[in-house]
Symmetry: C2
Subunit: 117 residues, 2 copies
DNA sequence: CTCACTACTCAGTGTTACTATCTACCAGTA
DNA sequence: TACTGGTAGATAGTAACACTGAGTAGTGAG
């Protein structure tokens, strides 16, 4: 992975984490593991925790502290209504973006077809 | 359009501009117009020019100054070999990302289907 | 000269992901 | 007690990027 992937993740990683949380509540360490299972293998733990702080401050998730058997208490994040709305908007924006990129890619693999007038 | 779109553009706008240049050489003002025609209607001109400076400094494009009939001389940008390589890698990275996001979206719209454990 | 369009430049700002480091709890080992 | 390793989270500093807003400069119409 190069720098491109890192830059592309900006604004997307947040949606990805919210999507993971929409499936079921989770805590930071767990989310990091899930991200890796989803193919996002290079995500630093520090990145995830910083992101969680952000979405918490924006009120997109509810937080609950739960004691752990194997370490310090876990902060379990649950997607709330606002977070769900934000996630829906994320998917809409993502769909728009992919649509445009696909058109651009098709036009590129082909040669030249446009009518900007 | 909200803040989400802005953040998602990071790392993507660059690829988009390179893709536009891969179809034919163009200059800044023209690229801005093309972006808008492609659906990226909210891109600020300043953003495009800054991006062009960046890709020029990285040696992804060749630049030629061409006199204009209606204003100051144009800086015409042409994708070079290095830029083409970079663009190819961009599309590969993009494909990987869309694949992962699609999986995530499917898993989300459905309910629960996974076996990482 | 002023206005409008074309064309490019630059300083400053906010957001984001990465790196590296630190705190803290528990179990196994010496 | 002290050391190691896995679990769990917090934080300071850095690099990259898109946006805002202003400015410079050339051409043609009024």
């Amino acid at each position: 992975m190069g720098k491109q992937a890192t830059e592309m993740l900006k604004g997307i990683l947040e949606g990805v984490v919210l999507a993971i949380l929409s499936r079921r509540p989770a805590y930071g360490y767990d989310i990091t593991a899930r991200l890796r299972a989803q193919g996002f293998s290079d995500i630093a733990e520090g990145t995830v925790y910083a992101l969680l702080v952000r979405i918490e401050q924006r009120g997109l998730v509810d937080v609950e502290k739960v004691p752990s058997e194997k370490g310090p208490p876990r902060k379990v994040y649950t997607l709330n209504g606002r977070g769900q709305e934000y996630l829906d908007e994320f998917w809409r924006t993502w769909a728009l973006l992919t649509e445009r990129l696909e058109r651009l890619h098709d036009a590129g693999t082909d040669d030249d077809t446009e009518g900007e007038g």
